[in-house]
Structure formats: C-alpha cells, structure tokens
C-alpha cells in the first residue's frame, strides 16, 4: 500500500474471521499468498467463538459439573451447598473466548496476514470498498457467516437471543425457550441447571426434529424431566412485556392459552449474511434463503469470488466452514481439491449428547436405500455402567450387500467425541469388518461403536439373542 492513497492491491482477500474465514486466511498464507483479512468486529472468531459454540460449551461444562455434583450421591459422595457464582462463571466464559480470540490474532500475525477492521462492500468482481478504502484483489473468499433470525415484526424485541443468553446477565426464575432445536435445548438446559424453570415451545411435533427418533427419544426422555413444560406442535402468537417479564400467547391445536415467563429466549435459527455486501456489483448468485450459490470448489458464479461457511449453501456448522475454507484457499492456489465430503458430523450438546454423520435412518429411507442397522445400548457397556451413565446408544447403518458403512448415530455421554470415528469410517469407505476388526480400548465408551458394528454384522457377543 502506498501511503497517502486510498487504494490497495492485494492477491487475496478474506471477508470474515470466523472458523471459515480465519482458517482460509491461514491456509492461503501458508501456501504463499498475500492475504488481507477484513473483520467488522473488534474480536476475531466470528459467531462460533464469540457468541456460539465456544461460550455455550464453557457454560454447558460448568452446569454438567454442578449436575454431577448433585447426583454424586449414588457413588457415595455428597456435596452440600453447591452454589453457582454467576459473575465468576461469566468471567470464566469471557476468559475462554478472549484467550481463543487472541490466539487467532497471534496466528494471523505470525502468518503475515494483514488485517483490516470494517464492513466490506463489493464494487465490482475484483474490487471492494472498506470504510472508504478501495481494495483490488485477484481472488476473494466471502466468509461473512450468519445472523440470528428475529421474531416477526410487532413482537417485542427485548426478548433474549442466544447471544444474549450466552452473556449470562441474569438467571430468570422462569424462562420460555422458543425453538426446540439444538440451540434452544442446549441453552435451555444451561439455564435450568443454573436454577431457572425452563419450558420449551416447538412448532414441530418433536424436539430436535432433525435427528433420528430413536436417538432423540433417549435424550428427550432425560431432558423432559428437567424441563417444566414441553409444548410441541405449538406456536407463539404474541409476546407482551409486563413489568416483571412477559405474557406469552401460545397456540396448540387451535387452542390458545397464555403463560407468564420472566424471560423469553428466541432460538429460531439463523440466516446467511449475504445482503449489504454489494454483491449486486458482482456476478455472484444468491439462491434460496439468501445463501450464496457455490460449486464443489466453493466457487461462486463470479470466477474469482468464493463463498464458504454459513453464508454459502449447506448446513451452518463451524467444521463445515473450516473445511470449505481450506478447500477454497487450496483451489485459489491451483490445487485440485473439492469439498467432496460424505460425512459432515452433526453434534448436539444436550445431556446426553447426540451426534450423527453420514446417512440418518430417515434420510436413507427417503432416498430408497436398503439398509441394515446395528444398535448397541450403553446398558450393556462396562464403562457406561462404571460412570453411571447408561442412557445412550450407538447405531451403525450399513448397506446389506456390501457392508459399507452409510451412517453412524450416537446418543450418550461424549457422543460428540465418539462421532469422529464414524466420520472417518464413512469418508474412507469402510465396511463393518473395518470397525469390528479394529481393537477398541477397554473399558471405554468407544467400544460401543465396535459393538454396534458387530450387531449390524450379526456377530455381536454382548447382547442376548432375540
């Protein structure tokens, strides 16, 4: 950049520093590209780190510790006066976030990535404007992420979003969670653990409607005991602020009723940040739902503009964004790569956790696959018994003729950690024998994956016949 001018030429630009954008920037730099990273926030890390995955996991861990302490009775351990200091917990969570965000800043600096703060707007297929600065680039990666969906106009906007809930400003006595998907359930359980009476209202007939029913049922059974009220097939009609909370009007099967809650948490999904980017000045095509259309190389319809993560088509998951970021960066550097992954793991940090990858049972049926399912309940597993957590199951979905593994689903403690083996198996094109013949350490929860594969192969030894 020549001083005194407001114009800059750079080889590559990345817009957004979330798990897609900063990873893409680092990979580009590692491959020898000159990189400019544009972030409108003061901190790096995007939704995932600043107001999503990371702070929520910090809170969930704390709550699970408290739950464990309160339920340690059966192990002969009793605690008295388990107290939560909300300020201290908030400090812990903020500390985790700022440490990681600072870590990204250090990585970017050491990699020689130039950073710029501001809102980026395309002025053409090879040019951007950031706060009056013109930037010309050869290739650009859009990684602007997504924003929370808001309730329709007319409904009071002072209710909480998931970002608000993560700030842990207060613990309301009663909390209504609007949306029984993974964000609503995770945060609802956090507040229940911290002392709130939590109810959930969900438009679908079931909580966590995206998961296979047999997996979700195990979670729902345990979670329902902690929730005050679960209202499925129900819709919020109105939220009226009162002097001590909100009066919420809810409809269920043509029946309307009103409840009072101290706070309402709205967790009804997210929408891609594809507007206000000046994309109309490029050839980039925005498709259904505001997602930027991309091909398997993460390329948009504009030859030198790429899009990754939440703003691009596909599930809104940090790990999908990171992988896409690497693909886009490598494609820009001339490598022959594609986003051709067969298993994007889905992970839900409820208690118990749920995870799955590859085909779900329902999706397999929709696609007309012949499938074979092996289920192994944690009640038959030594480690699960030892830690007193038998509320879980692993299921392995395979193809009858070839024994190829098509999908893996897990519910239970540490399901989020256990799913990676399933993802590797599916990506590798593994068969049941590859899982059954691999030694899994004993006694661990990971044995359940091997056991479920054995059940699918008809050679299980730990379940009674019939």
């Amino acid at each position: 950049m020549v001083m005194g001018t407001l114009s800059q030429e750079v080889e590559t630009v990345v817009i957004g520093s979330g798990p897609g954008g900063y990873v893409a920037a680092l990979r580009l730099a590692a491959l020898g590209k000159e990189v400019l990273l544009i972030e409108r926030n003061k901190q790096y890390g995007g939704t995932c780190l600043l107001e999503g995955c990371i702070p929520s996991k910090a809170l969930i861990n704390a709550v699970e510790l408290k739950e464990s302490a309160e339920n340690a009775d059966k192990f002969g351990i009793s605690f008295s006066g388990v107290e939560v200091d909300h300020n201290k917990l908030r400090e812990w969570t903020d500390g985790v976030v700022s440490t990681l965000s600072g870590g990204i800043a250090t990585l970017l600096k050491k990699a020689g990535v130039e950073v710029m703060c501001g809102d980026a707007k395309f002025t053409g297929s090879n040019a951007l404007n950031v706060g009056g600065n013109n930037i010309e680039f050869e290739d650009c990666i859009i990684a602007t992420g997504s924003s929370l969906n808001r309730l329709p106009e007319g409904i009071d906007q002072s209710v909480w979003s998931s970002a608000d809930a993560l700030k842990l400003k207060e613990v309301p006595e009663s909390l209504l969670v609007v949306g029984g998907g993974y964000i609503g359930l995770e945060l609802g359980l956090v507040y229940q653990g911290l002392g709130s009476e939590v109810s959930v209202v969900e438009f679908n007939p079931r909580l966590l409607a995206g998961a296979d029913f047999d997996l979700a049922d195990i979670m729902i059974k345990r979670v329902s005991k902690r929730l005050t009220e679960v209202m499925t097939e129900s819709r919020v009609l109105n939220i009226e602020p009162t002097n001590n909370g909100f009066d919420v009007k809810i409809s269920h099967n043509d029946e309307e009723f009103e409840r009072h809650y101290d706070q309402v948490l709205v967790a009804i999904g997210r929408a891609p940040n594809s507007d206000n980017l000046g994309l109309e000045n490029t050839k980039v095509v925005i498709g259904d739902g505001g997602f930027i259309e991309t091909d398997s190389e993460c390329k948009t319809a504009d030859a030198h503009i790429y899009a990754i993560g939440d703003v691009a088509t596909g599930p809104m998951l940090a790990h999908k964004a990171s992988r896409e970021g690497k693909v886009a960066a490598e494609v820009i550097c001339g490598e022959k790569v594609e986003f051709d992954n067969r298993a994007i793991p889905a992970v839900v940090f409820t208690d118990p956790e749920i995870s799955w990858c590859g085909l779900t049972e329902r999706r397999a049926e929709e696609l007309g696959y012949q499938i074979n399912i092996g289920r192994f309940p944690l009640t038959a597993l030594g480690r699960a018994r030892a830690i007193g957590r038998t509320d879980g199951m692993v299921k392995v979905i395979s193809e009858p003729d070839t024994n190829l593994i098509l999908g893996v689903g897990i519910v239970g403690p540490h399901a989020s950690e256990l799913i990676s083996e399933g993802a590797l198996a599916i990506e590798m094109g593994a068969t049941l024998a590859d899982l059954t013949d691999t030694i899994h350490p004993h006694p661990t929860l990971s044995e359940a994956v091997m056991e479920a594969a054995e059940v699918a192969a008809g050679i299980g030894v730990h379940l009674p016949k019939g």
């Binding site: 007309g368 070839t402 024994n403 190829l404 094109g429 068969t431």
Partner: protein, 417 residues
C-alpha cells in the same frame, strides 16, 4: 441425418485405432459399403456403413483412437429430423480414460473411496464415480484409479512409473532408456494395437508364470508318409491341404483329455484351479502386423480333415486382418508352429491365462538309431512350455511322450482317437 456410433467390437474391447477411411467427407456412400477399418487390441475390423447417403462428417484421423459407442460418421441419408451432430466433446481422444459404469443403483451416489484416493483421482483427471472399485464393498483403491488411466496417459514420468514397479518387485530396476538418437539415426513409433497387446500379455505371462520347458522329438516319418498319401486324395476331393498341424491339434486334444492339468487355468486371486471340459486350440498366426491367435473350438468333436480346413480358412482371414474377434477368444491351449520358417528348438511363452503351449520346430530328416542301426527319419522337435504352479515335470514328460506315441504311429492315432 444419421449419426453412426462405433458398434461393439467384442468382449472387453472399448476402443480401436482408425487404420483407414474408405471414403472422405462429401463422398456418397452406399449402404453396407465399407466405411472404416478399425484395429483393436486383437484384430483389424472393417466396419460397413449401415446407411447410404452423403458423408457429412467423419470422426478423426488415421492413427487416432475412437471409443465404442461414440460417433464415427454422420451420414445425410435424407431422413427427417436433425440428429444432434454437435458434440461438446470430441469423440476421438488420443488420451482417453477407460469408462466402467458405476455399480451403484442409486443415482448420484458417490462411490466409496478414501479422501486421499479421491484426491489422487482428481490429480490424474479421473472421474472417480465412473470407476468400479476392487476393494471391500466396492471401495475404489488407489491402484484402481491408476489403472483406470490408460498406460500412455498416466501423468507419471517414465522414472516414477519405473520406480513404482521397482518398489513392488525387489531388485527389479527399470531405468529410463538413453536417448539413442544421440548415438545414431533412429525411428520411433508408438507401441500400438496388436504390438502393445502382445507386449502386455507376454510381460504378464513371463512375470506371473513360472515357466518350465520340456523338450523332445517325435518321429513323424510314418505320419508324414500317411499325410502325403491321404492328403493328395483329400485335396483332390476338395478338402484342401492336409497339414501336419491339424494332426498335432487332434493329438494334443486327445492328450489334454488324459492330462486335464494342461487344459486348465489358475486363478491367483481366488486361489483356485479351473479345469476346462472343453477343448479350444489356438494357433499362433503371423499377420505382418503382429501375432494373433485364431482359435479352433471343440477340437474333440472335429475330424482331422475338418480341423485342417478350418485352420487354413482362419489363417487366411487372420493374415488379412478379417478374422472376427470372437474367433480369437476362448482358447484353452495354444500351439505355435514356427517349423515352416525354420528352427531346431524353441521355448515358447505361455498364452496366459492358459497353462501350457506347444512349440513345433521344423521337421527335418535326421540320422537316428533304430535297433542298433543308424537310419534316416523325419524328426519333429517339440517343446511343451508349462506353468509349474499347475503341473510338474513328470506330468509334462508323460503328456509329451503320449503325444509322441500318437504322432509316431498314425495307426495308434486312429485307434485311440
């Protein structure tokens, strides 16, 4: 307009080299008149035009490779409707990939393959979803990807190619050839068609099969006398020339019935021996363009006269490049008769996956000892090269001795066969 696609040229044949166009663009061609001559790995085939009309376009130059199913020619036969002539892809490709249909019943379903294998496929320009995997559950393995790329397309240097082979076989060291043009004048031509096919088959056979050669001589004095006498009459009745080879084929067939291990195949992947209960004898024929092996089927059900007649017909067709492919397939045993061109002894290479081959040298009058006296006899040198994985030396000795007994005594041949 009529679009003519290159028809199926026979089992396992996906492509052919254009040898000759019989017409040019703008010419008028009659229905069934010869259009193009195409040479496959196995033979040259003349393809007639299925329609008459004006030739609008032809696919490719002489020497180029054309895939079966792709458009060979567009002929204006006066028919209504414009057939899509424009193709986004040139049907003739010098560098082409062998396409095997995906085995998945679900459209759009990706084939199982490790991420590293998928990356390899992209780097070699192979659509992995068109491959059939040899791994468990149909998983596409790195070798499947490499092998799907034709020998002359793999983007590996001769050095890396040699290195990959050398790494598989200890001490095997395939060095890049020096540039001989620095030493003197050379002419370089690409290895193609029949020559390439022979090169592959012979290399496979020599590397895969532990060859043993068993040699002996047959006294064919009486057989030759009989053949001349009977042959003259046979010929005068219009039966054609009665050749020595047809007697050997008949005798070999009888021998194979008694020694099934020479009419077998060994499947090294399944570790199985396959004994064939049918007798299809191939004979090596020199065509000028290279070696081909026409096959005479069911030699156990044919007379020597019938075999002799078929031999002559097939040899002629093969020489002219007109023998249909299916008549060069399905052999169970091969005879190579280099005798008419000379040779006192030879060690033939087995026509894999067969397990034995008989080499015939030149019949020569030789002094031999009979009952303590030196007499002049007509001797036929014979070599049986066999697969030592399947048979042993003693089996071969018995097999060849029996063969010699028949060839030495035409009466025995008549009695036993």
């Amino acid at each position: 307009m009529f679009e003519f696609n290159l028809p199926d040229l026979g089992e396992g044949i996906h492509e052919g080299e254009i040898l000759k166009w019989y017409i040019a663009v703008g010419d008028t061609i009659e229905e069934d008149a010869p259009l193009v001559e195409v040479e496959t790995d196995k033979a040259a085939v003349t393809i007639p035009s299925p329609r008459g009309g004006k030739v609008v376009s032809l696919a490719g130059e002489v020497g180029e490779i054309i895939e079966t199913g792709s458009v060979v020619a567009v002929i204006d036969d006066g028919s209504e409707g414009v057939v899509a002539v424009e193709k986004t892809e040139d049907p003739v490709k010098k560098r082409k990939k062998r396409k095997i249909p995906a085995n998945s019943a679900i459209p759009g379903r990706p084939v199982p393959a490790a991420p590293s294998t998928r990356r390899l496929a992209r780097e070699l320009g192979v659509d992995i979803n068109n491959l059939k995997g040899t791994g468990p559950g149909g998983r596409v393995m790195p070798d499947d990807v490499k092998m799907s790329v034709d020998g002359d397309v793999v983007e590996l240097t001769p050095e890396t190619n040699a290195a990959s082979v050398a790494s598989a076989i200890p001490f095997l060291d395939i060095e890049a050839l020096p540039d001989y043009s620095l030493q003197g004048e050379v002419e370089v031509e690409p290895l193609r068609s029949i020559r390439r096919r022979v090169a592959r088959k012979m290399t496979t056979s020599m590397i895969l099969v532990p060859h043993v050669a068993h040699m002996d001589e047959a006294d064919v004095t009486e057989l030759e006398d009989f053949r001349k006498r009977a042959g003259a009459e046979h010929e005068s009745r219009g039966g054609g020339k009665l050749t020595l080879l047809s007697f050997v084929i008949r005798a070999i067939t009888a021998g194979l019935k008694e020694a099934p291990s020479f009419n077998a195949s060994l499947d090294p992947l399944r570790e199985e021996l396959i004994y064939k209960k049918f007798y299809n004898i191939g004979f090596a024929a020199d065509t000028g363009r290279g070696l081909v092996v026409p096959v005479i089927n069911d030699t156990d059900k044919k007379s020597i006269g019938e075999i002799s007649k078929e031999l002559q017909q097939k040899a002629e067709l093969a020489r002219d490049g007109k023998l249909p492919l299916e008549e060069m397939q399905g052999g169970t045993f091969t005879i190579t008769n280099v005798g008419p061109l000379g040779g006192t002894a030879l060690i033939p290479t087995i026509n894999y996956p067969e397990v034995a081959i008989l080499g015939m040298g030149r019949v020569q009058e030789k002094p031999v000892v009979r009952n303590g006296e030196i007499v002049i006899r007509k001797m036929l040198p014979l070599t049986l090269a066999f697969d030592h994985r399947v048979s042993d030396g003693a089996d071969a000795a018995r097999f060849v001795s029996e063969l010699i007994r028949w060839l030495s005594d035409p009466k025995q041949l008549l009695l036993d066969i």
